[in-house]
Amino acid sequence: AQTVTQSQPEMSVQEAETVTLSCTYDTSESDYYLFWYKQPPSRQMILVIRQEAYKQQNATENRFSVNFQKAAKSFSLKISDSQLGDAAMYFCAYRSAAYSGAGSYQLTFGKGTKLSVIP
């Protein structure tokens, strides 16, 4: 079974600065997907960024980028130019790329990192 570990329960960053959230995972599979989800106080789960394991290039979405190290099984999220609206829980998630029907899209989540943004 896959596991996802987020070792930082809480992080803080000054507004406009850069912060990196860590995520490691354990899997025996070679092909999979990794995600970062943001959960603001409203508790909605919002997709931030996704990475395909077969792609060497790190995914980027505006101020959000990842550092994907497949050999190390590491998938960190970098938030540049942090804004007050970035304050939220951030969850790292794993999904197998093997197709097995609807179960293929089952996500395994880490415990989350609570990010505070200091004005």
Partner: protein
């Protein structure tokens, strides 16, 4: 992001009562999921549903839980006899394909269930 509407947004129920949580995707989808998040804990998979059948379920999804798509649109999660430990946020999720990202899972806004 695609819209996935969940109702109710918050429900308080007495222990032992039945609860039905509803999920209405904005467009037609085949794959549906329910996830649960107990306050302060990680999001956990409950069940996947495809073509009007359960595809996969976790250990959490015991006999007191059931899912169905009664009218071809709404996707429901029923908890027959609620327990205190069922208090959690319940998320419906769907799979959406787009040419740039491939298959991606999107979550609804969640239904917060409080069992007293």
């Amino acid at each position: 992001e695609p819209e996935v509407t969940q109702t109710p947004s918050h429900q308080v129920t007495q222990m032992g009562q039945e609860v039905i949580l509803r999920c209405v995707p904005i467009s037609n989808h085949l794959y549906f999921y329910w996830y649960r998040q107990i306050l302060g804990q990680k999001v956990e998979f409950l069940v996947s549903f495809y073509n009007n059948e359960i595809s996969e379920k976790s250990e959490i999804f015991d006999d007191q839980f059931s899912v169905e798509r009664p009218d071809g649109s709404n996707f429901t999660l029923k908890i027959r006899s609620t327990k205190l430990e069922d208090s959690a946020m319940y998320f419906c999720a769907i799979v959406v394909w787009d040419i740039r990202s491939g298959n991606t899972i999107y979550f609804g806004e969640g239904s917060w269930l409080t069992v007293v």
